[in-house]
């Protein structure tokens, strides 16, 4: 018996080494010395033949690792771009094109299942199929995408050694279908335009009433607490939201992903009159998830028809943000609400028939399969109704989502138009093909600056889309598009600049309702203030503003808190902390503790004031914005009997809470929390230690991201660095006879986690340093400066 015991034990151990256990990969093959993880050869581009090319393509690599692709026609350009991008970013490309396709579990196993189930149920597969059919009718877009996919697959076909992530996951890279890349676009669209709080607000309204919601989450605050992208004067009457709304019968809602705080962007453009050089200046930084590799891939694209430089998503052809010799362009997220929810009523608990306007409709059910690594599958039933896709059922009730992101657009063609746009007019014209996600695009040429709120901007009556709506009486089309004449856009405003930072688009005097929920006004106000304050701007000024870390919101809230707190109820340490805050210059510095004290104190105070007035949704609680708190503090200081006093009392206690008491208790709670999280020594409570910003690996492999970084800034500052979100790309462009540009793409282009330059530029980025990019006039100039030159030639049979 003892003998068999040892044999069985040895076999069990062998199986563990081969198969792994739980999240642990099979360590036997992984740590094999000859062919396992140690056997790593950095992938480099080599000159070679590529079937499908019509002509020779030259790629020069500059000292920053940026490829400059010179082709004689567009098809060859995108094919080469696909090959080059796959060489640098294959694993990232693979995982990012799986997210909305419901294919994550196939790669990473059960831990991807929740994502897969959500996106399949949300109708992403059908949405992409529809978009791909629409692209089929647009030959130019289709050709662009197909050439790119051909290039990617040529790289996969010749691959000898897969990137290390595949070894860890014990899978082999597969060829890509063009639809996978449409999914990449959908993933970013959902990330930017899937923002919604309708479900939470409906629940709060259900308990406390609509007026309660409108008070805590107002469409507009007084001007001092607001900021708007649109600089034009308007003279219309503001639209007031109705104080009554449909009351949903749902007791519970499904969880719906929330937009990540800190996700957004800044862009601004300075007109020639305000620029030291006398030509337009442009700045843009996109705040997305901080990942290694970076979401962006930097490149120069050259054909006889255009010469452009910028960044593309690491799974899409062309450029998303960039510049050419005549113009520069770049977006911030428009944030305008394009996701609505309807409650419908089915015939019975299992039926697909539902009643709308006294007429029966039948939902179209489809069975979708999600494959799970290891051979298992999960069947998911997707139901499409004419009002949207069914997300949830409760008895006879159904919750459907109508998302403009499901409507096919032609965004790739819009981006293609930018590559050879010669002026602001042509730049703006390109966006007529843009639908979602709605973006605030700025365009500049040498003498003009312009802004457009590009995309499918819904035309809504005031308040529409704030709560779950009644599908029983819904009319199709559910939402119409705002007429072109009302589209928010501006050109060469008198103030001499344009800027956006995900804040509200239109002021109340525009008389148009676009939605209520935008990012806080802080970044926009700070940029406005800085741009107004200086007459002649230089690129260095633009870079400095991108790195600005002054917290405007803290300037509004903290003085109130400092006046309110009762010193005699505090310990000596707490009083010393107050002294630090009194002397604070409102800059969010990584190595100081003031920002930590302020951020935690404000959160705790907000919790004490509003915590009993909102509902808890799982572990997340939708709280009023900081600007609403600032307004409350201003009102109550001016008049303690202001109606806002009602929020101060805690419904859960018999006692009558006061503002000073709440501020004091919030500070004490802050102190206790910081001791619990960071230890008793306040010197350790630095912003860096509290926030711990870092780049995560694109596939969320532990250890494959960056270390914790010492970097200034927060969600509320122009340099918007949050825990795992921040400026993933910064650019400043000075137009002129030949444009000059300064850029930062932390992580660089190399996606190999075992390469020494995988974390390239991360330190520069954390210190706010930019590098001037090499934008070449032609191939000869590029060749002279290249550290490596690669030639792709057509294979003989094609030639």
């Amino acid at each position: 018996m003892r003998k068999w015991f040892w044999l069985i034990l040895a076999i069990g151990w062998l199986l563990f080494l081969k198969l792994g256990a739980g999240p642990l990969p099979g360590l036997g093959p992984l740590f094999e010395v000859s062919t396992g993880i140690w056997d790593h050869h950095p992938s480099t581009l080599e000159s070679r033949t590529l079937s499908g090319l019509k002509d020779k393509v030259t790629v020069t690599i500059d000292q920053s690792g940026v490829p400059h692709i010179f082709a004689r026609n567009e098809s060859d350009l995108y094919l080469a771009q696909g090959f080059v991008m796959a060489q640098a970013r294959l694993f990232q490309m693979d995982i990012s094109t799986r997210v909305t396709a419901g294919m994550l579990s196939e790669l990473v196993g059960e831990r991807g299942l929740a994502f897969d189930e959500f996106f399949v149920k949300f109708g992403m597969r059908g949405s992409v199929d529809e978009m791909w059919r629409a692209i089929g009718k647009k030959p130019r877009t289709r050709a662009m995408l197909e050439a790119f996919v051909t290039g990617v697959n040529l790289y996969v076909d010749q691959l000898q050694e897969p990137p290390p992530e595949y070894k860890i996951l014990n899978v082999k890279p597969q060829r890509f279908s063009p639809e996978r890349f449409v999914h990449m676009g959908k993933a970013l669209t959902f990330n930017l335009a899937g923002r919604t709080f309708d479900l939470e607000l409906s629940q709060i309204a259900g308990k406390f009433g609509v007026e309660h919601v409108l008070d805590l989450f107002p469409q507009y605050l007084p001007a001092k607490f607001e900021d708007f992208v649109d600089p034009r004067p308007h003279g219309k009457a503001p639209l007031a939201e109705p104080t009554r709304a449909f009351q949903t019968s749902f007791k519970e809602f499904p969880s719906f992903p929330w937009a990540n705080p800190g996700q957004g962007s800044n862009n601004w453009a300075v007109a020639p009159a305000k620029s030291a050089s006398g030509t337009s200046l442009f700045a843009n930084d996109t705040h997305l998830g901080l990942t290694l590799p970076n979401i962006w891939f930097e490149t120069q694209l050259y054909t006889p028809d255009f010469n452009a430089y910028g960044v593309s998503l690491a799974a899409l052809p062309g450029l998303v943000n960039g510049f050419n010799k005549d113009i520069a362009w770049g977006p911030t997220n428009g944030t305008t609400d394009v996701l609505d929810f309807y409650e419908i009523e089915f015939e019975d608990e299992t039926s697909a028939r539902y009643l709308v306007n006294q007429q029966w409709y039948t939902g179209r059910e489809e069975k979708q399969i999600v494959k799970i690594k290891g051979g298992n599958e999960k069947e998911i039933v997707v139901m499409n109704t004419h009002l949207g896709v069914l997300l949830h059922r409760q008895g006879k009730l159904g919750l459907v989502a109508d998302w403009a992101g499901h409507r096919p657009g032609n965004e790739l063609l819009a981006l293609r138009g930018l590559l050879n746009a010669a002026n602001v007019d042509e730049c703006l014209l390109s966006f007529s093909d843009w639908r979602v996600p709605i973006q605030n695009f700025l365009c500049v040429d040498k003498t003009n600056i312009a802004w457009t709120h590009a995309g499918f901007v819904p035309k809504r009556p005031a308040g529409q889309g704030r709560f779950v709506m009644d599908g029983r009486t819904a009319r199709v089309p559910l939402i119409e598009e705002l007429p072109e004449s009302d589209r928010p856009q501006a050109r060469n405003p008198a103030q001499g600049f344009l800027r956006s930072a995900n804040e509200k688009i239109l002021p109340p005097s525009a008389g148009i309702y676009l939605g209520w929920d935008y990012e806080p006004p802080n970044r926009g106000q700070r940029i406005q203030e800085a741009l107004q304050a200086k007459d002649k701007w230089t690129p260095e000024d633009m870079i400095a503003l991108q790195n600005d870390v002054r917290n405007v919101e803290a300037m509004r809230i903290l003085p109130h808190l400092l006046r309110l707190v009762k010193q005699d109820e505090l310990t000596s340490g707490q009083r010393e902390a107050l002294e630090l805050l009194r002397a604070w210059d409102y800059r969010v510095l990584a190595t100081r503790i003031e920002a930590t004290l302020y951020a935690v104190w404000t959160d705790k105070f907000k919790e004490k004031i509003f915590g009993d007035d909102v509902l808890e949704e799982g572990k997340r609680k939708l709280m009023p914005r900081d600007a609403r708190l600032a307004w409350l503090l201003a009102r109550l200081e001016a008049n303690p009997n202001d109606p806002d006093a009602k929020w101060v009392d805690d419904r859960a206690t018999d006692a009558k809470e006061t503002l000073t008491g709440q501020a004091t208790r919030a500070l004490q709670a802050t102190w206790n929390l910081l001791i619990e999280r960071l230890g008793p020594d306040p010197k350790l409570w630095t912003w860096r230690n509290w926030q711990q910003p870092r780049f995560l690996h694109a596939g969320r492999l532990p250890g494959f991201g960056s270390d914790v970084l010492t970097v200034d800034g927060s969600n509320d500052t122009v340099s918007a660095v949050a825990k795992a979100h921040g400026p993933t790309y910064r650019v400043v462009v000075e137009t002129g006879e030949w444009p000059k540009a300064w850029m930062q793409v932390p992580g660089g282009n190399n996606g190999d986690p075992f390469a020494t330059d995988f974390e390239r530029f991360v330190t520069d980025w954390s210190q706010g340093r930019m590098r001037q990019v090499e934008f070449y006039r032609d191939m000869e100039e590029a060749k002279k400066a290249a550290v490596r030159i690669v030639e792709f030639t057509p294979s003989a049979e094609v030639k």
Partner: protein
């Protein structure tokens, strides 16, 4: 036994697939007379060989591979990764050599 084991396991680990180490340990165990210190010596040498060769390969990547893999396995330092690899090699060799030894003993008895 230790130096013989070190040379043999290093050659096996360097030249053959990962499953060759347990196979070799099993065969040695099967062939050798049952002595506990044989198991101990060979397993120790196999663990050391595996950790040392991994360390050499890691040097070619400037230590980046061990840094990332240590993070992946939630180890606080890359050095501990080599300790883990040592343990993997040690346990693999020990279990399979022990299995070979006890089976060999059983076979001998059966033959008698």
């Amino acid at each position: 036994m230790f130096f013989f084991g070190l040379a043999l396991s290093a050659a096996v680990i360097w030249l053959l697939p990962w499953w060759a180490l347990p196979l070799t340990a099993f065969l040695i165990g099967f062939m050798l007379p049952y002595k506990f210190h044989y198991v101990w010596s060979f397993s120790l040498s196999a663990g050391l060989a595996m950790a040392a060769l991994s360390f050499v390969r890691d040097g070619q990547s400037h230590g980046l591979i061990s840094k990332r893999m240590a993070g992946l396995l939630s180890l606080p330092t890359p050095t501990l990764l080599f300790a883990v690899i040592f343990i993997l090699g040690f346990v693999t060799a020990a279990l399979w050599m022990q299995a070979g030894l006890v089976l060999s003993k059983r076979s001998a008895k059966t033959l008698k």
